[in-house]
Point group: C2
Chain length 95, copies 2
Protein backbone atom coordinates (compact mmCIF):
# COMPACT_ATOMS: atom_id res chain seq x y z
CA UNK A 1 0.00 0.00 0.00
CA UNK A 2 0.99 3.62 -0.47
CA UNK A 3 0.48 6.05 2.39
CA UNK A 4 0.29 9.75 1.49
CA UNK A 5 0.97 12.20 4.31
CA UNK A 6 0.24 15.85 3.52
CA UNK A 7 0.71 18.64 6.04
CA UNK A 8 -0.69 22.14 5.60
CA UNK A 9 0.25 25.43 7.19
CA UNK A 10 -2.98 27.41 6.94
CA UNK A 11 -3.07 31.18 6.66
CA UNK A 12 -4.23 33.01 9.76
CA UNK A 13 -7.90 33.83 9.37
CA UNK A 14 -8.76 30.51 7.73
CA UNK A 15 -12.28 29.65 8.91
CA UNK A 16 -13.76 26.36 10.04
CA UNK A 17 -16.15 26.65 7.09
CA UNK A 18 -13.24 26.81 4.64
CA UNK A 19 -11.65 23.76 6.26
CA UNK A 20 -14.96 21.87 6.21
CA UNK A 21 -15.41 22.68 2.52
CA UNK A 22 -11.99 21.12 1.79
CA UNK A 23 -12.49 17.97 3.82
CA UNK A 24 -16.02 17.41 2.49
CA UNK A 25 -14.86 17.82 -1.09
CA UNK A 26 -11.88 15.48 -0.65
CA UNK A 27 -14.09 12.87 1.02
CA UNK A 28 -16.49 13.07 -1.92
CA UNK A 29 -13.79 12.11 -4.44
CA UNK A 30 -14.38 8.70 -6.00
CA UNK A 31 -10.98 7.08 -6.42
CA UNK A 32 -10.80 3.31 -6.92
CA UNK A 33 -8.07 1.92 -4.70
CA UNK A 34 -8.34 4.65 -2.09
CA UNK A 35 -8.44 2.49 1.04
CA UNK A 36 -8.76 4.93 3.93
CA UNK A 37 -8.51 8.60 4.74
CA UNK A 38 -7.78 10.37 8.01
CA UNK A 39 -7.44 14.09 8.55
CA UNK A 40 -7.68 16.74 11.20
CA UNK A 41 -6.37 19.93 12.71
CA UNK A 42 -3.17 19.94 14.72
CA UNK A 43 -3.87 19.22 18.39
CA UNK A 44 -1.38 21.81 19.66
CA UNK A 45 0.78 19.25 21.47
CA UNK A 46 4.04 20.73 20.13
CA UNK A 47 5.24 24.21 19.24
CA UNK A 48 5.82 25.07 15.59
CA UNK A 49 3.62 22.38 14.11
CA UNK A 50 1.84 22.53 10.80
CA UNK A 51 -1.92 23.34 11.04
CA UNK A 52 -3.70 20.42 9.41
CA UNK A 53 -2.91 16.93 8.13
CA UNK A 54 -4.29 14.39 5.70
CA UNK A 55 -3.04 10.79 5.77
CA UNK A 56 -4.55 8.77 2.93
CA UNK A 57 -3.86 5.12 2.10
CA UNK A 58 -4.01 3.60 -1.38
CA UNK A 59 -3.86 0.03 -2.61
CA UNK A 60 -0.94 0.79 -4.90
CA UNK A 61 0.92 3.51 -6.79
CA UNK A 62 -1.58 3.66 -9.70
CA UNK A 63 -4.37 4.39 -7.22
CA UNK A 64 -2.33 7.22 -5.71
CA UNK A 65 -1.54 8.56 -9.18
CA UNK A 66 -5.25 8.54 -10.04
CA UNK A 67 -6.00 10.53 -6.86
CA UNK A 68 -3.15 12.92 -7.58
CA UNK A 69 -4.26 13.56 -11.17
CA UNK A 70 -8.03 13.54 -10.55
CA UNK A 71 -9.78 16.49 -12.16
CA UNK A 72 -12.04 17.17 -9.16
CA UNK A 73 -9.03 16.93 -6.86
CA UNK A 74 -7.30 19.60 -8.93
CA UNK A 75 -10.36 21.80 -8.67
CA UNK A 76 -10.25 21.39 -4.88
CA UNK A 77 -6.57 22.30 -4.83
CA UNK A 78 -7.08 25.40 -6.92
CA UNK A 79 -10.39 26.69 -5.57
CA UNK A 80 -10.44 25.58 -1.93
CA UNK A 81 -6.90 24.77 -0.75
CA UNK A 82 -4.72 27.34 -2.55
CA UNK A 83 -6.59 30.33 -1.03
CA UNK A 84 -5.98 29.17 2.53
CA UNK A 85 -2.67 27.25 2.39
CA UNK A 86 0.49 29.16 3.16
CA UNK A 87 2.63 26.04 2.70
CA UNK A 88 2.07 22.36 1.92
CA UNK A 89 4.51 19.51 2.62
CA UNK A 90 4.09 16.00 1.25
CA UNK A 91 5.54 12.52 1.41
CA UNK A 92 4.25 9.25 -0.08
CA UNK A 93 5.74 6.04 1.26
CA UNK A 94 5.21 2.29 1.13
CA UNK A 95 3.44 0.61 4.04
CA UNK B 1 -6.44 7.93 19.04
CA UNK B 2 -3.74 10.44 18.19
CA UNK B 3 -1.93 10.17 14.87
CA UNK B 4 1.47 11.86 14.61
CA UNK B 5 2.72 12.61 11.10
CA UNK B 6 6.32 13.78 10.85
CA UNK B 7 8.02 14.61 7.55
CA UNK B 8 11.77 15.03 7.16
CA UNK B 9 13.83 16.72 4.50
CA UNK B 10 17.14 14.90 4.71
CA UNK B 11 20.45 16.51 3.83
CA UNK B 12 22.00 15.35 0.59
CA UNK B 13 24.58 12.69 1.36
CA UNK B 14 22.47 11.04 4.08
CA UNK B 15 23.26 7.33 3.88
CA UNK B 16 20.94 4.33 4.11
CA UNK B 17 22.90 3.29 7.20
CA UNK B 18 22.07 6.60 8.91
CA UNK B 19 18.39 6.17 8.05
CA UNK B 20 18.41 2.56 9.27
CA UNK B 21 20.00 3.65 12.54
CA UNK B 22 17.14 6.12 13.09
CA UNK B 23 14.31 3.73 12.25
CA UNK B 24 15.80 0.90 14.30
CA UNK B 25 16.24 3.15 17.31
CA UNK B 26 12.72 4.56 17.07
CA UNK B 27 11.26 1.07 16.71
CA UNK B 28 13.15 0.00 19.83
CA UNK B 29 11.48 2.67 21.99
CA UNK B 30 9.15 1.19 24.61
CA UNK B 31 6.18 3.53 24.86
CA UNK B 32 2.96 2.22 26.47
CA UNK B 33 0.04 3.29 24.32
CA UNK B 34 2.02 3.43 21.07
CA UNK B 35 -0.35 1.46 18.84
CA UNK B 36 1.36 1.36 15.45
CA UNK B 37 4.23 2.87 13.53
CA UNK B 38 4.77 3.26 9.80
CA UNK B 39 7.68 4.96 8.09
CA UNK B 40 9.56 5.06 4.87
CA UNK B 41 11.36 7.06 2.22
CA UNK B 42 9.44 9.18 -0.24
CA UNK B 43 8.50 7.16 -3.33
CA UNK B 44 9.24 9.99 -5.76
CA UNK B 45 5.68 10.19 -7.06
CA UNK B 46 5.60 14.01 -6.85
CA UNK B 47 8.12 16.80 -7.31
CA UNK B 48 9.25 18.76 -4.28
CA UNK B 49 8.31 16.19 -1.67
CA UNK B 50 9.93 15.75 1.70
CA UNK B 51 12.40 12.81 1.93
CA UNK B 52 11.08 10.57 4.66
CA UNK B 53 7.96 10.15 6.80
CA UNK B 54 6.90 8.64 10.09
CA UNK B 55 3.21 8.16 10.90
CA UNK B 56 2.75 6.87 14.45
CA UNK B 57 -0.55 6.16 16.21
CA UNK B 58 -1.14 6.45 19.96
CA UNK B 59 -4.03 5.45 22.18
CA UNK B 60 -4.37 8.96 23.54
CA UNK B 61 -2.62 12.27 24.14
CA UNK B 62 -0.76 11.10 27.27
CA UNK B 63 0.78 8.26 25.23
CA UNK B 64 1.92 10.75 22.58
CA UNK B 65 3.31 13.05 25.28
CA UNK B 66 5.27 10.14 26.77
CA UNK B 67 6.75 9.38 23.32
CA UNK B 68 7.53 13.03 22.74
CA UNK B 69 9.26 13.46 26.10
CA UNK B 70 10.97 10.05 26.22
CA UNK B 71 14.65 10.30 27.14
CA UNK B 72 15.78 7.76 24.54
CA UNK B 73 13.70 9.52 21.91
CA UNK B 74 15.48 12.76 22.70
CA UNK B 75 18.83 11.00 22.35
CA UNK B 76 17.72 9.76 18.92
CA UNK B 77 16.69 13.27 17.91
CA UNK B 78 19.97 14.79 19.02
CA UNK B 79 22.45 12.10 17.98
CA UNK B 80 20.86 10.47 14.91
CA UNK B 81 18.22 12.78 13.42
CA UNK B 82 19.67 16.28 13.91
CA UNK B 83 22.86 15.51 11.94
CA UNK B 84 20.91 14.44 8.84
CA UNK B 85 17.68 16.48 8.95
CA UNK B 86 17.63 19.76 7.07
CA UNK B 87 14.00 20.40 8.06
CA UNK B 88 11.28 18.58 10.03
CA UNK B 89 7.53 19.25 9.79
CA UNK B 90 4.99 17.82 12.23
CA UNK B 91 1.28 17.52 12.88
CA UNK B 92 -0.61 15.49 15.50
CA UNK B 93 -4.32 14.99 14.95
CA UNK B 94 -7.21 13.00 16.33
CA UNK B 95 -8.31 9.86 14.44
Amino acid sequence: MVRSAVLFKLRSGTTQEQINAITSAVQALHIPGLVSMTFGPDLGLREGNMSFAFVVDFEDEPAFRAYDADEHHNHIRRDLIAPVAERIERCQFQI
